[in-house]
Symmetry: C2
Subunit: 207 residues, 2 copies
């Protein structure tokens, strides 16, 4: 763990020198990370060039989905390991042409517990919470939600069907992720994506 912290700082320095904004995207399985990343890249188009490192226990389904959309992707297959670590990121990043990128997005293993403890050298940790998961996830997984710089409520198009209590979810989010910027959106319909993309462009400009 201490070794990971050191390697993460080395990554951070390396990415800074490369003028990359680095996001570590974490969530439960099935919160919509891949769709969110794909739609973010598609809407940014040529204005910000995005590359992705995808972590999964098995399969390269997500990498394939992103690659089909024309996004440079490296897949990490972790086997039984429940998180990515800084060393994996360093090795995977070496397989991307970083000089051609503005933003590096790391799609972590779908897991609200283990990835919380592993700094990857990111600038922003982005936690996704889909409206179908229930309003109390921040309270139940405090280390992850507390450590996030950004919280994104996803699948807002399903809010009514799922009986999502938005007010309660935001109260819970602000309680645990009290310093985090919160966005609410549907990557599927595009609703709410604009303010997220503006935020991303600002963050990249500040690197």
């Amino acid at each position: 763990m201490e070794k990971n912290a050191l390697l993460a700082e080395r990554n951070r320095g390396f990415f800074r020198a490369k003028k990359l904004l680095v996001l570590n995207v974490v969530s439960s399985p099935g919160s919509g990370k891949t769709t969110f990343i794909r739609e973010t890249a598609a809407r940014l188009g040529a204005s910000l060039r995005i590359g992705v490192i995808v972590g999964d226990l098995a399969t390269d389904n997500d990498a394939a989905r992103l690659r089909t959309a024309g996004i440079p992707v490296v897949q990490i297959t972790t086997g039984t390991v429940c998180h990515l670590d800084a060393d994996m990121i360093s090795k995977a990043a070496a397989q991307l042409d970083l000089d051609k990128l503005d933003v590096l997005v790391i799609e972590n293993v779908g897991n609200l517990v283990c990835p919380a403890d592993y700094d990857l050298g990111e600038d922003l940790r982005v936690v996704l919470l889909s409206v179908t998961e229930g309003e109390d996830k921040p309270l139940k997984y405090p280390p992850m939600f507390h450590s996030a710089h950004v919280a994104v409520v996803t699948k807002s198009d399903l809010a009514a069907a799922a009986g999502f209590n938005r007010d309660l979810a935001l109260v819970n989010l602000h309680r645990i992720s009290h310093h985090a910027r919160v966005f609410e959106l549907s990557a599927k319909t595009g609703d709410g994506m604009k303010s997220w993309l503006e935020f991303l462009a600002q963050q990249r400009a500040a690197v």
Copy 2:
């Protein structure tokens, strides 16, 4: 890990002597474990008496929801630990009046990775997959889905809104959980609950 395997077998022996059917319910965060367990207990009524051990990193929200429904519950708060283990179960079970129960349900921490490695002494491992999580979860989390005796597709009432591809999900489930009994249901509407409850009664009768 080896110590956990031994303690799990001790639990198994203990529960057998008590004529308890023991379920270990696992899933992503927000797949609907608590609602599924609550509705199972409510529909069984007095025919099978259910007690629950609930694991969460933090909060006793789920325990409170079950207790309100009149179900005997013990909460385990794991802090930062991403799974329950056999020793936690042994201690928690001692707080329930097991002689008054027919079925002991363990609601594990919401996590598709870590709990796969920990035998708790259960008779059946029951993995939940909600229709909003996408069809490829079995492929992406093979240890968990492979180790399950029962796979339950939940939130079927949201299938159309979520654009759930049922055929693909079942193909993926059968590929990884090829020996598992599969149920499709909505605990919210009650649709599909009947065959699950019949299966549970059969399993209990065979203990």
